[in-house]
Symmetry: C2
Subunit: 198 residues, 2 copies
């Protein structure tokens, strides 16, 4: 993980969150995830290919304020997860374990509604609702993925140890044990038949 | 630092913040700081004694959700800092270094307005405004104290490494290098003549 350079100005001013857009002032890193960046993460490959043959929607954006990666240092980021579905599967983040598995993470809902899937390394999973002014504690050794089950943008703040690191590869390889889908206009959380529990 | 016991129920539900009262649902620890608990922290001892001869106002309250104190784990807390002054000095928190000096902390303003004094171990200090939807990064090795300079309750969320620990003793002994006072209806940040820089 590169050591981010943060200026004194960045530290000496509060870093404002625009709760309408989710944008962080003075961010050090911005990520835009389009469908093409995460096509392996969705269940229905043929729907993914069909959508990508026409356009490449932005699924989510991240504005991060990352500090030096010493033990005990903290970084934070806002995520804007757009509403939508790939087939019947709701827009979601890639999801990740931390490279340092025992690093926890704290989330705070800012706008919109959705849920956080939280899974241990054997695939045992549960979910927590994301809504404004609610805090979600992701314990050490758990992967986590946000899912936008609403009609609006889902915006949340994440705070994480600066040395945590993001391991997306394990999720890419094994998948998440649960899928979050829409069925008969309801949100359903079902077992992922493609999940590789090994 | 004791290892907090958190129930599965606490983890599997989002922990709601009541932004009017600042109260956290499912907190594991509550602290109420009255003036008598922190009388040594204010500059004007005779004003403190005069107030305490009549009553003992609550200066601030904390609702904390503390998790096990392993390296990389995270805890969080809301603070409700009441408006008021002791003489011309605004209501404030005790302020603390972390016992593990290199642990950082992240604050998010929720309601009201004030400022965070941030000071290194030689007394070099700066301040950052606290306001709703603004994030404050407290770097490793810095003490920090919140001050309510407004007329309303100042409510904020803090996220900190669970193994950080609170060192109030150093502040009790040396003081903060700056005082935040009201003068001619303005907020002023002045040098603390009693600060012990050693």
């Amino acid at each position: 993980m590169p050591i981010a350079v943060i200026s004194l100005k960045n530290i000496m001013n509060a870093i404002k969150i625009d709760t309408k857009t989710g944008k962080l002032e003075n961010y050090t890193k911005r990520i835009v995830r389009k469908l093409s960046d995460m096509k392996e993460f969705y269940f229905n490959k043929s729907v993914v290919d069909e959508i990508l043959s026409k356009n490449d929607p932005v699924i989510y954006e991240v504005y991060a304020f990352e500090t030096g990666d010493s033990v005990g240092n903290l970084s934070f980021a806002t995520t804007i997860l757009y509403p939508g579905k790939i087939g019947n599967e709701f827009f979601m983040t890639k999801g990740h374990f931390h490279e340092k598995r025992d690093r926890a993470e704290i989330y705070l809902g800012l706008s919109g509604s959705g849920l956080m899937l939280i899974m241990d390394d054997r695939g045992n999973a549960y979910h927590v609702k994301i809504k404004p002014h609610s805090v979600i504690y992701v314990p050490p050794n758990h992967a986590h993925r946000a899912v936008n089950t609403g009609k609006e943008k889902l915006i949340f703040l994440a705070i994480y140890p600066s040395d945590a690191g993001h391991d997306y590869g394990t999720i890419l390889e094994k998948g998440f044990s649960k899928l979050v889908i829409e069925e008969n206009n309801s949100v359903r959380i079902i077992d992922n038949p493609k999940f590789k529990n090994q």
